[in-house]
């Protein structure tokens, strides 16, 4: 009599566990397969069983399903991120990001999380690449987000120490120091194509926030381009982004940066009185 309900729990047809869409596939499969190799549920107080909740998922389970669906890494991260078996896929994805100059914060954070759960599988090369990619994503705080997940003793080793120093320089606007340091650690940063351009874009962004008119020397220092290359760069910017070259008092060249609301406060839209639409929608029922 003690387990009236257990027959009901265990022997209801599995078909009653509907798989709504492909999305639920992993989880419902994993929980069914969540190897309760000892059926049925006995009294908890009496028997202690190892609960292996670890979902054993991976592409090898695919053959059971009539349709073969291959999931992209993004889908995996969205649907089944707490699964140690996707670790190789995520590592490959990092390499893919590096090669194709794309970036996905969610996938990288997922990988770092898995490394946190299983520190013996941590690969310093992959982590270094993730951090370089995060640096390139500035001004977003991605680099700090990644650091939160990397254990302290790992952060004390190279190349992470260098990367942290580089990040510090970038965060505090120390571009000259940054480029010096980057030159010294070329092997780390040049492993990822597009690094230089990304940092230069960030430098330009910070300068645009701060200056209306910036002296040439400051700009040169920030983007680490001098001489003729700088002239070419400036020409490009003049054409594409509306920069204006002027002559300053000291005789040096002044670059007037495009006007945005950050360096031209008069352009700042007075959003004080604007009421967003979704706030108004809340009172539609009252107004009608």
């Amino acid at each position: 009599m003690y387990s009236i309900l257990t027959p009901l729990v265990d022997c209801y047809p599995k078909g009653l566990n509907p798989q709504h869409s492909g999305r639920c596939f992993f989880l419902s499969c994993s929980l069914q397969g969540s190897p309760r190799s000892v059926p049925p549920v006995r009294y908890i107080g009496k028997v202690l069983r190892r609960n292996r909740i670890r979902p054993k998922m991976g592409m090898e389970k695919e053959p059971q399903k009539p349709q073969q669906v291959s999931y992209t890494v993004e889908q995996l991260v969205a649907v089944n991120p707490y699964n140690p078996d996707i670790l190789p896929d995520l590592e490959n994805y990092v390499n893919e990001q590096v090669a194709s100059q794309t970036y996905s914060l969610d996938a990288n954070l997922c990988l770092l999380r898995l490394y946190q759960f299983e520190p013996e599988r941590l690969s310093t090369q992959i982590v270094a690449r993730i951090l370089v990619k995060a640096l390139m994503a500035m001004p977003a705080p991605d680099f700090s987000l990644c650091l939160f997940l990397i254990p302290e003793r790992v952060q004390m080793e190279q190349p992470f120490k260098t990367l942290i120093v580089l990040s510090h320089y970038l965060e505090t606007g120390g571009f000259r120091q940054f480029w010096d340091e980057a030159a010294k650690s070329r092997h780390i940063v040049e492993a990822v194509p597009g690094f230089e351009q990304a940092i230069q874009a960030y430098a330009v962004h910070v300068l645009s926030l701060t200056y209306q008119k910036v002296p040439r020397s400051v700009l040169a220092e920030a983007i680490n381009i001098e001489g003729l290359a700088l002239d070419k760069f400036l020409e490009q910017q003049v054409v594409n982004y509306g920069w204006v070259l002027e002559m300053g008092q000291g005789g040096g060249q002044i670059i007037a940066l495009p006007k945005t609301e950050f360096n031209h406060p008069e352009l700042k839209k007075n959003s004080g009185d604007a009421v967003p639409l979704d706030h108004i929608t809340r009172i539609f029922p009252i107004l009608s």
Binding site: L27, G45, N51
Partner: protein, 695 residues
């Protein structure tokens, strides 16, 4: 409660005996009494004594049956119109007990649990009082607060490292033995509690369940189980038809009580994990047909995450572990495995399809928030509401791991700018906003953090008094203090005082006014050794940030299992130290900004050279500082846009700094919107009164 008239066999028997004895006694009294009276003084002694003995004997018999009858009446099990006894809390066919949604039921079901356990006594209280010797009604206030105190509340001065002996298995086991705990002894009040709770769950009386859960459970714990666990589930199981699901629920409460009052042994932790597995699997796989109050469902998720956190802390203290414990840990490495915890929460979210439900609610197709998650069409609210609260659980776990971005993503389907099911339970409201605010702080989205902290602190300020009797009162106060500390940090990074309400501001000044002043202090004297003074102030500020952060941060965990081969060390502080270190490096980067801000507030135009002079730095360092200022005050929000949260803004024109005078803008739109909604509410109330009085 006693509205039914059917009674079981044993009681019927007693009842009949009672009547028989009463009749015999009455007849005897009449006959013999009248005989004696007529005989007068000539009655024989044996006859007299016969009468005496018979009379007293019957008195005893009558009294005895009456006494046992009253006792038995307490365990009346209502069978009512239920045919088969096999219908437990889990049924596959349509619920024959479906309660029609009358206004009465609606009143019960929409009971706002934040009202706390008001002493609107339910019948339970009366019932319990009849059995307990001391005929007092427990005053719920002071005693109940201690229920969750020790193990939950962090000490006032941050005590991250608890005494090594606290988690010692043997000590804990000893303590339990000392008090003479007998797991199989079931006091009558517990018996009745269990029986009534079971009945209410079967009948889906959410209001009654809530009363029993909040009030009766705490009362009994306080009165009978101060230092010992509740009776084991095996002892109570036969009072509840051996119902499997009820046993899981009872065990869940059993473990929660254990964690709150005593310190659990490793074996008990593993058993608790096992119980949660079974419970969640039943909810996920079976068709659970019961409605539980939101408070209970939130407590389940909350306790689940809390026990996970506690286990990780426990496991990380390897230094004083015995051989036995290490062997057990090795054997049950799946217990409280981080994958398991995360996957369960994720599964609850997925299986309940709560995200789709919330989406559809926005379009008006579904009703979820409007009914507070309860199901009026005879279904069960358990899976949906557990799924909803699991999103908050995921946010919490991710914050404990240090992954703030993903935590916020998990919370994304819930719109925290509006009321929702998460506000129906004060515990979940506070937990949500606390973790949201903390994650925003670490993501440098200070404005978001300030706004949310402001709202919740104002809410707590206004409604604190209603929760004084609730068992979570201490927790609420503790979180309140922590959130003030976090608000102080956010405001120091981003001094936008206009985002903060008056009441909250006043409280903040009272608690942290002095500290906040020190954080913004740059150089208040014109003479003397400026550099060393500034350095001193900076170091002082650094120390204050350290203190505030340590006080207010969650208890971070290291999720990975320890390697048992390396020498045993305590590494429970590692995660916390890492987060603190990274936070303080952020503080260091923003150190120079204090000086810049001080001067920019004073000047409207100043040349770079002059400002460099005042700050005692060279021009290039000044340029760096100003760029840092701009970078830090222009945060990237969740959509990837840049927003400025600077209070003092400027721009540089070659080598002149021009400071922007921004007038504070009065926001009328928000004010009008709020008043419109309020007026509408008042008109509705007035209309309702008119309608009611018209009836």
């Amino acid at each position: 409660m006693t509205e039914s008239s059917d009674i079981t066999g044993g009681v019927r028997c007693l009842y009949i005996l009672n009547i028989i004895f009463a009749i015999i006694f009455g007849l005897l009294a009449l006959l013999l009494g009248s005989t004696l009276l007529t005989l007068g003084s000539s009655c024989s002694v044996p006859l007299f004594w016969c009468y005496e003995i018979a009379a007293w004997g019957l008195v005893i018999l009558y009294g005895g049956t009456a006494f046992f009858l009253r006792r038995k009446a307490a365990v009346i099990i209502d069978e009512g119109d239920q045919g088969s006894r096999n219908l437990g809390l889990e049924m596959l066919e349509a619920n024959t007990l479906a309660v029609a949604v009358t206004p009465d039921v609606e009143r019960r079901v929409t009971f706002k649990s934040w009202m706390g356990s008001s002493l609107l006594s339910s019948d339970d209280e009366d019932e319990l009082d009849t059995f307990v010797d001391a005929p007092y009604r427990t005053n719920a206030s002071a005693n109940r607060q201690r229920v969750y105190s020790e193990s939950r509340a962090m000490a006032a001065n941050y005590e991250y490292d608890e005494a090594a002996g606290h988690y010692d298995d043997q000590a804990a086991a000893l303590r339990q033995q000392e008090v003479g705990y007998d797991p199989n002894f079931v006091p009558d009040s517990v018996k009745s509690f269990v029986v009534h709770l079971y009945r209410h769950i079967r009948e889906k009386n959410v209001y009654e369940i809530h009363q029993m859960y909040e009030t009766s459970f705490q009362t009994l714990s306080e009165r009978l189980f101060k230092d010992t666990p509740w009776p084991s589930v095996d002892a109570v199981v036969h009072y509840v038809d051996n119902d499997h699901v009820f046993c899981l629920l009872y065990r869940e409460m059993w473990f929660r009580h254990l964690y709150a009052r005593l310190s659990p042994t490793l074996k008990q932790r593993i058993d608790s994990w096992d119980n949660y597995c079974s419970l969640f699997q039943v909810v996920l796989h079976g068709v659970v047909n019961m409605q539980l109050p939101n408070q209970w469902l939130w407590d389940m998720v909350d306790e689940f995450v809390y026990q996970f956190q506690s286990f990780c802390q426990y496991r990380a203290k390897m230094k004083n572990k015995t051989e036995q414990e290490i062997a057990l840990l090795r054997q049950f490495d799946q217990a409280w495995n981080v994958y398991g915890v995360l996957n369960f929460l994720q599964a609850l979210v997925e299986k309940s399809a709560i995200i789709q439900i919330l989406e559809q609610e926005k379009q008006g197709i579904e009703q979820f928030t409007a009914t507070d998650g309860y199901d009026y069409s005879g279904g069960s609210n358990v899976l949906k509401v557990l799924g909803y609260f699991s999103m908050i659980g995921l946010l919490r776990v991710h914050c404990l791991l240090g992954d703030y971005h993903t935590g916020l993503k998990c919370l994304h389907p819930i719109d925290i700018s509006q009321q929702g099911v998460y506000t129906s339970v004060i515990g979940s409201h506070i937990a949500t906003i606390y973790h949201y605010g903390f994650a925003s702080l670490m993501l440098r989205r200070y404005v978001d953090g300030i706004r949310e902290f402001n709202k919740i602190l104002l809410y707590i300020y206004k409604t604190k008094q209603y929760h004084q009797k609730s068992p979570q009162y201490e927790q609420i106060l503790k979180k309140n203090e922590q959130m003030y500390a976090l608000l102080a940090i956010c405001l120091s990074f981003c001094p936008q005082m206009k985002l903060v309400d008056e009441a909250v501001n006043a409280q903040l000044r009272e608690k942290y006014g002095e500290k906040m002043g020190k954080l913004q202090r740059y150089d208040d004297e014109a003479y003397g050794d400026k550099l060393s003074r500034r350095q001193r102030y900076a170091d002082e500020a650094f120390g204050i940030y350290d203190e505030l952060f340590s006080y207010a941060c969650p208890k971070f965990i290291t999720p990975s299992a320890p390697s048992f081969d390396e020498p045993l060390v305590n590494y429970n502080q590692d995660a916390y130290r890492l987060q603190l270190k990274l936070f303080l490096s952020e503080v260091r980067q923003q150190e120079l900004l204090v000086g810049a801000r001080t001067f920019l507030k004073v000047y409207s135009t100043i040349s770079l050279g002059k400002l460099a002079n005042y700050l005692d730095v060279d021009e290039s360092t000044l340029r760096m500082t100003l760029m840092t200022y701009k970078h830090k005050t222009h945060a990237v929000d969740s959509d990837g846009k840049i927003i400025s949260n600077a209070d003092v803004d400027f721009y540089i024109d070659d080598d002149m700094i021009r400071v922007v005078n921004s007038k504070p803008v009065k926001r009328y739109g928000d004010f009008f919107l709020r008043q419109i909604v309020k007026l509408e509410g008042v008109i509705n109330d007035v209309d309702r009164i008119k309608v009611e009085s018209a009836n």
